[in-house]
């Protein structure tokens, strides 16, 4: 309102506010999830809980190659979900796209005979196309007939999974029926290994990170990213501004599908640690969990491409560590519970930030120490959940009724109050 407000202090606040807040929120969620996981482990098997929990935390470091290998597909699925989410689309079909991408990659790997250096690249591209198709169709349904993409893409998870299982089982070259799995891929179709001992880690992790950075650039620097985010924030305003939301919806879903498809290709085209073998796929009518892990990864990374890199590696890290808890008699499901809890907390961690801010604020007031700068920092954090909470379905009501940011703030108070009551 006044000129002196264009000061350094204010500039600092913005650079801090949004990204910083979601970062602390993610950390808070992780901490709470781990504490809860520890409690679960104590209940399950009190005597070994300390050793078991330290495996969860640090076990991954002894298998760093595997951590990155398993991080790659969930990173790709996380990018897929996060990217669509920026436009306000919930791509729950990452699993189907992942499976489809995997099949396309496998098909090219087995059926096409190509020179060594090119073969795996063509396989990867085939995976991209497979996923793209499987994302494109729900996108078209959404854009043209306004069919909810959540429903379509869930159905496409099943259609994709059963189709792939059927195709693989019907193909004599790819499928070994006695072992109920696919055959070993030819070496030319496998991605170059990074040479870490006892691990399948390969160059795909670098490709995945490069893609994440590319997505960041697209979102932040390009016209397409500008339109995409505008549509995600406020589809009425984007329509008003003449953006082609049909085209953008289809394009976004196709890109999201392609990202998941790449995830599938990266997972299956990895070199195996034993010479002559490779990763295999078992057509056992189960929807690939990578897609759902991708949702978790995207959520924990606040749908930010760079954040998703870290959240994918983190989730992979505790998953690897979790498998080692079997040494102390823990079932691998325990680690799934811990991950689930982390995701659960990350979903309302922004709200927890608010509650924390309010708590500190009221504490301060009681002690009568109102230093201006500090105080407004907390309000700023309190401001953040606005963006998260009003972006969803209920924003129309708020947007219609607000005269100023003040009323939005009321809304936040209400939301916080509700959650406290609950």
């Amino acid at each position: 309102m006044q000129n002196n407000l264009f000061s350094h202090q204010n500039m600092k606040k913005i650079t801090k506010s949004k990204g910083f807040s979601s970062f602390t929120a993610a950390l808070l969620a992780i901490a709470l999830g781990l504490v809860f996981g520890f409690i679960v482990m104590i209940i399950a098997r009190p005597s070994n809980s300390i050793q078991g929990f330290s495996k969860v935390l640090f076990g991954g470091f002894s298998r760093i190659g595997d951590v990155f290998y398993f991080a790659t597909p969930i990173l790709m699925c996380g990018l897929s979900v996060g990217f669509a989410f920026k436009m306000g689309l919930f791509n729950i079909g990452a699993s189907g796209q992942y499976t489809m991408g995997m099949f396309f990659a496998l098909y090219v790997g087995f059926m096409w005979d190509l020179p060594d250096n090119i073969h795996w690249i063509v396989c990867v591209i085939a995976g991209l196309i497979g996923g793209l198709l499987w994302g494109l169709i729900p996108g078209i349904f959404k854009a043209i007939w306004n069919v909810n993409e959540v429903i379509t893409s869930i159905m496409f998870n099943y259609i994709g999974m059963y189709l792939v299982d059927m195709w693989i089982q019907g193909n004599g070259t790819m499928y070994i029926s006695s072992k109920t799995r696919t055959a070993y891929l030819p070496a030319s179709a496998q991605m170059p290994s990074l040479g870490v001992r006892n691990s399948s880690v390969n160059i795909s992790i670098f490709i995945a990170i490069a893609i994440a950075i590319l997505l960041y650039v697209i979102l932040e620097k390009t016209v397409f990213g500008y339109e995409l985010k505008a549509t995600g924030f406020n589809k009425f305003a984007s329509k008003y501004a003449g953006m082609n939301d049909k085209r953008n919806t289809i394009l976004t879903m196709a890109i999201a599908g392609a990202l998941s498809g790449l995830g599938g290709a990266f997972a299956i085209l990895a070199p195996s640690t034993i010479a002559g073998s490779s990763m295999t796929y078992e057509p056992i009518s189960v929807i690939a969990p990578a897609g759902f892990n991708g949702i978790a990864v995207a959520l924990l990374g606040s749908s930010h491409p760079i954040g998703i890199i870290f959240s994918a590696v983190f989730i992979s890290h505790i998953q690897r560590g979790g498998t080692l808890t079997a040494l102390y008699g823990y079932k691998p499901e325990i680690i799934d519970i811990v991950i689930a809890v982390i995701i659960y907390f990350s979903a309302f961690s922004l709200l927890m930030n608010t509650a924390l801010g309010n708590f500190v604020k009221s504490h301060r007031r009681k002690r009568g120490q109102n230093t201006d700068g500090q105080e407004s920092d907390f309000i700023e954090e309190k401001n953040n959940p606005i963006m998260e909470t009003t972006r969803g379905e209920n924003n129309s009501e708020i947007l219609e009724n607000t005269g100023s940011h003040v009323e939005v703030e009321h809304k936040i108070d209400e939301i916080v109050n509700h959650s406290e009551e609950a």
Partner: protein, 515 residues
Amino acid sequence: MENYIIEMLHITKEFPGIIANDDITLQLRKGEIHALLGENGAVKSTLMSVLFGLYQAEKGEIRKNGKVVRINNPNDANSLGIGMVHQHFKLVEIFTVLENIMLGVEPNKMGFLQKKIAREKVINLSKKYGLHVDPDAIIEKISVGMQQRVEILKMLYRENEILIFDEPTAVLTPQEIDELMEIMRGFAKEGKSILFITHKLNEIMSVADRCTVLRKGKCIGTVEIKDTTKEELSRMMVGRDISFSVDKKESSPGEVVLSLKNVSVASKTSKKNAVNDISFDVRAGEIVCLAGIDGNGQTELVSALTGLEKLNKGQITLCGTDISKASIRKRSKIGMSHIPEDRHKFGLVLDYSLEENMVLQRYWQPQFQKNGFIKKQEVRKYAEKLIHQYDVRSGQGPITITRSMSGGNQQKAIIAREIDKEHKLLVAVQPTRGLDVGAIEFIHKQLVASRDAGEAVLLVSLELDEVMDVSDRILVMYEGEIVGELDPKKTTVEELGLYMSGAKRDNVKENRYAE
């Protein structure tokens, strides 16, 4: 020492980047109508939110009858006898009038509602104060004016003695405004105390006893209305002299820019067309105003005109091109600028920064992008230019998140964007709604300047003063049809009111065909 029923002393409330209230003192006497006047910004709403317990002030205290009280939430406010009619009503649309009034304080016996008791009380109250309502009518089916009466009855039902009216006249017709003023006077006579928030100086002059003026978060002063004038009030509020009449030359209409022929638009709520067979032209260099009471098809007509909705029938021509089926982008390219009615829903991406919103209509132009990449430097430069030129105030300049800005400044940003964009036709829908006199004067000047630059302006307005002052030609809409074409110089507000309420109509359509 004087007896005040409510005192807010030295209230200070801050938000990031903005001091919303800076040491404000407001004292309300028993039985007076006290107007609260201020520029746009969070100032008044924040102050009232503090009084209503939605916010806690960082400094200052609230006293009732001289005793310090703490108001932590609206329930506290209610138990102190403070009631509020919000600018946007807080009613349950599918409930009846009676159900809404007793909501939260339902008389009951072992958990069973005692509607009879409530009904009697409501009927008595409505008779006593002349607030006629049908207790069994469903809220969504009654008029806005009636809904407001329900809000007022809600306060009375709770036996509040301090009544806050937050811009109550914004949604009313002239006749309804007169009635409301009468009702407010009645309350004051009864000994109730009223805080009346408004931008409209005429209303303050006619009904208020005293007026507290706020500017930029500070309290400028409290004056007795009988000792002051409209000019003085506006000077206090804006800090400079304001001209109330719009200064403009005779219009010199040129060629036809926009032409509508037999346009019909379907209604979303009923089977009848919201807009029924409308035809009119807007020429270069003239301001045509679509006047009418809210809900008579103006919104639908503008939606069809700007491409947000499809039209049922008819033809729209802009600069000689048929745009009846054209995309929004194409309309924009041909030369349409649109200041939308709902600035939050359509006009802005609230989570975008101010600079990103400033290029919302132009980001795709070569000036702002190269090979699909946004030229951030250019965007920043352009935004800074507009911010300076149109005096858009915000906490952090171009990088302010638009959501955190005040309503008036958000509107200024939209107006800057739409006027600065190259255009032949400016469609301005209620561009001054909820703005203070300073901002209104500015926007009116911009509209006239647009006209003088040879652009066509289609203004949709519910404000009679605006309709009379700004326009060169008035078209009155009633129930989806144009019922009169008036010359603002030759008509009166009263005549306009008759057309707007449907009491009078010309056969404009027939006349046009006869031409």
